[in-house]
Amino acid sequence: MGTRFRKPDTQVARSVLLEPFDISLHGTDEGLRGLQNRFAMWLRGFNGPLRFVTWQIPADLSPRLTYIKEMSDAAAEAGRRELLMEYRRHYEMLQAEAQYQRTMCGLAAWTEPGESAHSLARSATAALDTLAVDALWPPLFTGEYKLCEPGGGYRGWHLAPVGKPAGRPVFALLSSYQLQPTIWDFQRPFSMLIGRRFPLAICVDIPKTWDRNDAINEIESVVQAYSVHLATMRGEDSRSIKKINDCRQTLEELNLGDALHDVQIIIALSAPDRKTLRERVDEVIKLVKPWFGLRAEIGEAQAEAAKFFGPHHSRAIGIPHTTWPVVSRELALLFAPLGMRKLAGLDGTLRGEDGNGNYPVFHNSWRDKRATHEVWVGGSGYGKTFALNCLLSRQYAEEGVPFTLLEPMGHGVHVANAFDLPWYVMSAQHTCLNPQDVMFPTLVEQKAHTIRLYETILGRQLSGGQKENQERALLGEALEILYGGLGELMAITPDLAPLTETVCDVLSGLGDKAHIRTIATDLADEIGGLCTGRGPWAAFVNGATNIDLSSRNRAKPQVFSFHEMEQDPIMLAIAYTQVLSAIRRDSLSNESPRVIAVDEVYRLMRHPSLLDFLIEAAKTFRTRRKKLVVIDQQMSVMVEGRARLIFENCPIRVIFNQRQGLNVFKEDAAFQHFNDYHHEIIANLQRFSFVFDVQEEGIWVLRNRASEGELKRFRST
């Protein structure tokens, strides 16, 4: 059998981009140690060259402002135009207050030709706990540059743009030549570098990872040489003693499984002119001096060093390679810039400001063809409703996504007034919702839906026993007779739909055997007693629907409030279901995006038959680009029993203060990515602050900073 030797030249560069995360969310010693171990474990597994690059560029909200202006120009409704102008003012205010930067991280590995960048991205996502996508790196500079000798206010070699600069900066590249024997952690020294308010790029180049045995032999030979040196030397040589100690510690770490890596740090600095470049170079060299020494590359090496920010193998880069050996646990700390999140993309909807107020966070949940549902939880008074109103307002104004809000407290009036919409109030006294309204395109589904509503009214399942099964069959037969007589199902409008009393009449006449007739009559009497004549729900369900659930206004937002019927859980559940059914029915006919927000969803989920409906509706909504936002006070409601099926369809979790229900986050498998510090954060979130957890994208701690207009409109919510 032939042996296949890997030739260095047969390796191919694969690049991925990494989404920076917020390292402060691993804020405890234990959390950070866990992160370091995780990074180190991953790095041990590499045997080819690896490169990690962080780019930092100044950023502002200009693209967002331009987008808002374009939307404003295109908006047909005057109200929406006003809202857009208000948001534009809000963004201008944010921009005036802050100086933003944007960071981006990339990873390149030289692998066998058969290994794709996608597999590297998958491995990086799993190991680094952040989103990695196979993508090309952004260029360090654009256009043509030339190598320049010292002069013009800068005493070192540098790169300057060829021809007219047209805003292009000059660059200087600095390389590390010594890593100081001092304490490094995830903050120092990179947080200081990333904190600079000028553009820079940091490259951590790992040209070689040693074979463990070779590394041990190499270091043992150094120990041996120093031991001989010390044995023959008279007097003190503290550096040699330190070196032997360092070697022994390195050997110990290598024997514990770490790998030895050669590392060099390259920093690219840019400035609009040479004088500023000099100031920045001096500042950076001084800043990092306690941790590592930097030299400005000389001559050709200055030009060659730029190649570190591209897909060039270290061997092909002609600079003096002053690498430094580090073990995997040390190397893990050089990935610290990955944990320094700044302003990310401006695409999507403003979800809040990061906890420290450093940058706004936008998130686009409409990128996928499918909508991404959200689950929101949090104690009363922590700002869920207010945040929801803000989100709906922003999505409608800025993204043009209409919404349907179902809420039980009567706060919907503020939203209705803000957008000049009709406010649909479901009332036990004035509203009538006919259970026979057609909500499904097929007779089978429509029958199942209506039977579910009757089950809710009766407070029992029409299945599970012989009698119940017969009742279900009879009720279905009655409905089939009634719908059959009205022609095509979807053409049956609310004014034509059969009434509940008609269902009872038809039902009471069914059955070809005496005992079946008795069951039919008893069921008709039971339903009739509750829903017709003087029955408790007669006014509510026995009549033509008197609220507009048609699809005529589906391009506009809709607000349904249920506060006038909250004392009756059954009526409330039926009302929620009928409204959601109408939305579901309309969803099938188009794929235009819409947000459907259901506040206090527990009121719906506690009825088993309606829970099934909600589970099914969640799936339908998702495929039809309808985003479901389900809101309640406790996460435990969402993860227990069949409600979990809805929860698992919601990749976005918005968690307000949950001091009372923290155990769910500690025990449930869905929250295993939360560490102790996350739990502490969730237990101590202030009003209007929340954890924004997006599956496979990241976790943010945000504060809902509302615009002046939002405060004015929704303050009382």
Partner: protein, 161 residues
């Protein structure tokens, strides 16, 4: 969460004299003695001793590290860089002639975004055809000389079209 970084465990820097390592002292000493001995066999034997001291001091200065590089290396890089820039600026000048004579690549004086930051496969086609490499991307195979199967159309006379 933190690590105490270590000194360079792969490099030997035994103590010599003051801040000068033993390795550097030995190198400078050996260099100076070689010069001294060579001069002793020449008519310049009278200045061999001052040269010994001079060369020793000179070598100490030239090997003095800064930024991780000895002075001679920094000087070389600077001279070479100057030559490259001058040759690039005046392609018909003396600097360009010298650069050509010394086989110095002048093109490094200009950097293009397209050349530096665009993915270029560093892969070289494997000469051993017994070893099969699987490519993730067809372009890579084509740009690096990989073999690929094609349909060949034949004309009526049997020749390949």
């Amino acid at each position: 969460m933190a690590a105490q970084f270590k000194s360079n465990v792969r490099v030997r820097e035994e103590k010599g004299f003051g801040s000068i390592s033993m390795k550097r002292l030995i190198f400078c000493g050996v260099g100076a003695v070689l010069i001294f001995m060579t001069l002793r066999f020449t008519p310049l034997a009278t200045i061999a001793l001052p040269m010994l001291l001079g060369v020793f001091a000179g070598l100490l200065v030239l090997t003095g590290p800064r930024g991780g590089l000895p002075l001679w290396h920094r000087l070389m890089l600077g001279l070479r860089g100057g030559l490259v820039v001058a040759a690039a600026r005046h392609p018909a000048g003396i600097a360009a002639l010298i650069a050509r004579a010394l086989n110095v690549d002048v093109s490094v004086a200009y950097l293009s975004q397209r050349q530096i930051f665009t993915v270029q496969s560093s892969m070289v086609a494997d000469e051993d055809v017994n070893e099969w490499a699987v490519f993730a991307d067809l372009n890579e195979a084509e740009t690096t000389g990989g073999l690929h199967f094609v349909n060949v159309m034949e004309g009526s006379d049997g020749n390949t079209l």
